[in-house]
Amino acid sequence: MFGRDEKVSGIRLTAAQYIILGIFLVLAYRLWQLQVMRSDYYALAAEKNRIRNVPVLAPRGKILDRYGRTIVDNYPSFTALLLRDSSRDLNADADLIAQGLHLDPNEVRARIRRFATMPQYQPIFLKEDITPDDLQFIESHRNELPELDTIMSHRRLYPRNGFMAHLIGYVGEVSEDMLNQPQFELYNPGDVVGKSGVELQYNDLLMGRNGSRQALVDSHGREVGRLGETEAIPGRPLKLTIDIDLQIAAEEQLQGKNGAIVAMDPHTGEILAMASGPTFDPNDFAVRVSRTDWSKLVNDPDKPMLNKAIQAQLAPGSTFKIIMSMAGWQEGIAQNLHVHCNGSADFYGRNSKCWVFFEHRTHGDVDLTKAIYQSCDVFFYTLADKLGINKIAKHATDLGLGQKTGIDLPQEASGLVPSEEWKLKTFRQKWYAGETIFVGIGQGAVTVTPIQLARAISAIAMGGKLVVPHVTNPVDLPPNYVDAAHYLDVKNVAIDPEGWNVITDAMDRVLLPEGTAPSAHIAGIDIAGKTGSAQVVSLENRAKHKNDADLAQNGWFVGFTPKRNPDIVVCALFQGGEHGRLAARLATQVIKAYVEKQRRTPQKMVEKPKTDGTVDIGGLWNDSEPGGSTDALRAGRVAIDLPKKRMPLATAAPGVN
C-alpha cells in the first residue's frame, strides 16, 4: 500500500523516455535512408514527376506538281496520346480510356505492350484525328487520367476521289514488320510513314524529324513552365514532274474505266501524268482503314490498289508491231518486205489469221508503212518468222522491255520478253518457231507495262534516245540524294534515221482515215501513234464466247506529238476496251490537253524555213549526221492559231486547294 503522494515509478518514467528515444531514432534512421542513402533515386522521381516530355510532331512535306501547285497538303488535327513517363499503371486505365475514345480495349493494351521496349519519353499514339467528343473526354478526365494528352499533328490531305492516288500513294503508321527491317531502324512505333507510291519512295525526304518539348507540369498535368524544346524539323516539300492539268485530263479519261494512262516527256523521261483506274481514296486510310474495307479493295477483280501504269503486265498486242518494225528495219528485213494479206496465212502447219479476217476483208499488198497504219497481222507474222525469236528479244530488250524501267516508284513490274533461253530456263522446253509468229503481233508470252511501252515507243520516236522515266526532277532533290542520280541517264539505242522516219511517218497515219483509229483523230493536232488490241483468249475462242465481258480484249494506244522531235508520249491501256481505237481516244484527249496548254503559253517561235517542200510542224530535223545522233534534233515551233475556247488551268489538285 502506498499513499496518494507516493511518486510514480522512476524506472517507468525513464523507460518511457527510452521508448520515445527509440521512436525518434527509428524515424531519424528512416530519414537518413530516404534523404541521404536513396536521395538520388527520389530526386530523379521528383524530376520525372514534374517534367513531361511532349513530342512536337513534324509536318510531312507537301507534294507539289512541276509548277509548284499543291497536290498533297496537310491539315491540322489532334492526336490522342498516352504519356508513359507518369507513374500511372496504363493497363489499369486502358478500359476507361478505350471507352472514352471509342477504341477497342484490347487494341489499346496491345499498343501499350508494343511500346513497352521504347524509352519512357516516347508516348503512345492512341488515336489520330480525334473527334470533338474524344477531346471533350480527354479534357474532362485531366485529373483521373493525367497520362492521357493530346497533341497537334498534321494530317495528310490527299486530292479527292482518288485523284492520282496510285502515284502519290498513302501514309500509315509504321508497322511492326517494317520496324524489324534494318532500313527502317530509325523509325519509332507510331511514326507515320509512306506505304506506297511517292509517299513510300521519298519517305525519307517527306518525313520530318519530330521534336520534343520538356514541359514543367503540376500534379494535375497542367503546364506551369517550359524547360526546353527541340524543334521539329518539317519534312521537305517534294516537287513532282507531274502537270496537274494533264493529270486531270488523264483522270477524266479513265473515269469509270479499268486501265492506265502515262504521259511522259520523251526528252527527259519526266512523267507528266500517270493515272490508273479504278482508283481508291487515300483519305479513307488516313486515319485507320477497317479490315472489311481493306479486303474489299484488295480482292476487287479490277485491282484498284494496283498502279496499272507500272504494275499491269499485259500482252502489248499490235503496239508491239512498232518494236517489231524497228527490229526488222535494223536487221535489214522490214524495209524490203512485201507481203500479200489474204486475211490469213499458214505458218508451221497452222492457219494464222489477220484481224481483218473477222471483218471479212483483206489487206492485199502490204509494205511496212501500210502494215503499221493498217496493223496487218500477216505482215508481222512474216516479219517475226524471218527475224526469229532471239532477234526480236534482243531489240525488245534494247528498248527496255522485259526489265524495270527504273522509275522512282516502288514495286514496278518488269514485264516479259520471251526468248529461247527464257523458255528453256522457265519451262525446260525448247522454243517452237510457231510461237514466234504470235510474238510478232504482241501476243503469246510477251508482256509489257504501260510505262515500258511508253518508254520504248518514246525511244523510237526520239531516234533511239532511251530515257529513264521519273516522277521527280533530280535538280529538285537534295544534291546528295543518291537514289536520283540515274534518273537523267540516257541510253542510245541504235536506230537507222531512215527507218525511224518511215516508222513514225506510218504511225502518223494511224489516226488518219486510212489508219486503225481515225475516230481518235483531233483536228489541228499532229499525233503519231499505234493502236493495239490484245487478246485475252484467241480470236477463235472469243468467237465462241460472244459478249463475255471477262474475255474482252485489252485496248492499247501509244502516241506522241509532234511526229518529229516529240514533246509528249502518251500510253493508254484500256482493259476490256475491246479495241485500240478506244484506248486511242483516251490518249489523244490527254495529248490535246497538253497541246492546248502549250499553245497558250509563250514559246520561242522559229521562222518557217524559206525552203521548198513541206515542214514538219513542231520540229526541225537536221539529218546532216547520218549516225542518228539525237543532238541534231533542235526544238523549234512555228506559230499556230490559238483556239478561241480556253481550258481553265488548275491551281491545285482537286480537293486540295
Partner: protein
C-alpha cells in the same frame, strides 16, 4: 495555495522550444501555400499560436488539482458533447465531427482528449496498490474506450487512435504487470498492428489495403492507394542532405502540404539536416516534459504531464511515420507545425496543464 504560484516557475525554456517549432511551422505553411488558394494561411496560423499561448497562460492559472476533483463532471460533459455530435453534428467529407455553436464550428473530440488525460491521471493516481489489477486495467481501458468508440463512429479513426496512448501511458505508469502488458500488446500487435503496417508488409491484397486506407479518410486518397505516401516519400527523399527546390510541394504533387504532410514539405525544402533538426526540437520538448513529470508535486501531476507526452509522441510517430512511408494515411496532423486551429489550441491547452503542474511543484 495559489499565492505560492509564480511565473518564475513557468517553464520558459519549454515555451521557447515550442514557439521555435511553431515558427518553423508557420514558415513552412507560408512556403507551401504561397502560390495556392490557401495563400495567407500562415497569418491565420500565427493568430492561432498567439491565441493558443494566451489559452496556455489561462490554463496554467487554474489549479489542476481542482480540475481533477471535478473531473467526473467534465468527463460526463465530454461524453455528452460526443453524443451531441452524433445527433446534431454537421456532416463534412462523409463524417460527422463538428457541431455548430453560434457561428463557429467546434470539434468536441479534441477537448475530450484533454479530459481523458485528466481523467486517466485522476483514476490511476488514486490507486492504492503498486501493481495494476485486471479490474483496474479494464476500468481504465473502458474509461478511454467508450469515448474512443464514439469518435470511431463519427468516423474519425485518426482522432480515436490518439486516445489510445493516453490509456497506454496510464496503465504503464499505473503499474502494468508484465503478463498484462504482454497479453494486451500481443492482442494489439496481432490485431491492429497487422492492419496498419500493411503499406510495408504485404499481408493484405491491394484492394483490401485500399479499402482500409479509404475507410480511414476517403478524401485523402482520390488518386489510388499509395499515391500520397509515394509522393510524400519522393518529397522527403528528393530533399537530400541540405534540401532542394521543393518541386513536390510547389507542384502540388504532395497532398495537403500545409497540414498533414507539412513534415514532408519541410523535409523536401530543408533536407535531412532540417528534418533531423525538427525531430531534435520535438525530442527536446518531450524530454523537457518528462523532466517536468518527474518533478511534479504529486502522482496526479506526473500522470497529467505524461499523458501529454504520450499524446504528443503518438502524434509525431504517426504523422512522421506516415510521411516517411511507415504508417498509413490517417489524417493525424503534426502538433505545433501543421496548419489548423483545433490542433494548435489543443496543444497549447495541454501545455498549459503541464505548466500548471510545474508551477505547483514546490507547493505542498
Amino acid at each position: 495555495m495559489s499565492r505560492y504560484v509564480s511565473y518564475r516557475d513557468f517553464d520558459w525554456i519549454l515555451l521557447g522550444f515550442v514557439l521555435l517549432i511553431c515558427g518553423l511551422g508557420v514558415m513552412e505553411i507560408h512556403s507551401a501555400t504561397v502560390h495556392t488558394k490557401f495563400a495567407g494561411a500562415h497569418i491565420k496560423q500565427i493568430y492561432w499560436v498567439v491565441g493558443g499561448v494566451g489559452m496556455m497562460f489561462l490554463m496554467s492559472l487554474v489549479n489542476y488539482q481542482a480540475l481533477l476533483d471535478q473531473i467526473h463532471w467534465f468527463y460526463i460533459a465530454g461524453i455528452a458533447s460526443l453524443m451531441a455530435v452524433m445527433v446534431f453534428g454537421t456532416r463534412a467529407l462523409g463524417a460527422k465531427r463538428w457541431i455548430k455553436i453560434g457561428g463557429s464550428h467546434f470539434q468536441p473530440s479534441e477537448w475530450v482528449k484533454l479530459i481523458l488525460i485528466l481523467a486517466v491521471a485522476k483514476y490511476f493516481s488514486e490507486m492504492r496498490q503498486r501493481e495494476l489489477s485486471w479490474s483496474d486495467f479494464i476500468k481504465g481501458g473502458a474509461m478511454v474506450g467508450v469515448p474512443m468508440l464514439m469518435v470511431l463512429a463519427q468516423p474519425d479513426l485518426g482522432t480515436a487512435l490518439t486516445y489510445v496512448p493516453i490509456a497506454v501511458m496510464g496503465v504503464f505508469l499505473g503499474g502494468l504487470q508484465w503478463k498484462q502488458g504482454l497479453s494486451v500488446a500481443l492482442v494489439i500487435i496481432v490485431g491492429i498492428g497487422a492492419v496498419f503496417m500493411v503499406p510495408r508488409i504485404h499481408v493484405l491484397k491491394g484492394y483490401q489495403k485500399q479499402r482500409l486506407t479509404s475507410f480511414i479518410d476517403p478524401s485523402l486518397d482520390p488518386k489510388g492507394s499509395g499515391y500520397q505516401v509515394e509522393q510524400s516519400e519522393i518529397a522527403v527523399g528528393s530533399g537530400g542532405l541540405w534540401g532542394g527546390k521543393g518541386s513536390q510541394t510547389h507542384g502540388a504533387f504532395l497532398p495537403v502540404p500545409q497540414t498533414d504532410f507539412i513534415f514532408a514539405a519541410f523535409s523536401e525544402e530543408h533536407g535531412f539536416v532540417g528534418a533531423l533538426g525538427v525531430l531534435l526540437l520535438y525530442f527536446i520538448v518531450l524530454m523537457r516534459l518528462t523532466q517536468n513529470a518527474q518533478t511534479a508535486p504529486d502522482r496526479a501531476g506526473t500522470f497529467v504531464v505524461m499523458g501529454v507526452v504520450a499524446v504528443l509522441s503518438f502524434h509525431i510517430l504517426v504523422n512522421v511515420g506516415m510521411v516517411v512511408g511507415f504508417m498509413p494515411v490517417t489524417g493525424i496532423p503534426l502538433p505545433l507545425m501543421s496548419y489548423g486551429g483545433s490542433s494548435v489550441l489543443f496543444m497549447f491547452l495541454a501545455l498549459g496543464m503541464v505548466m500548471n503542474v510545474r508551477m505547483r511543484r514546490f507547493v505542498n
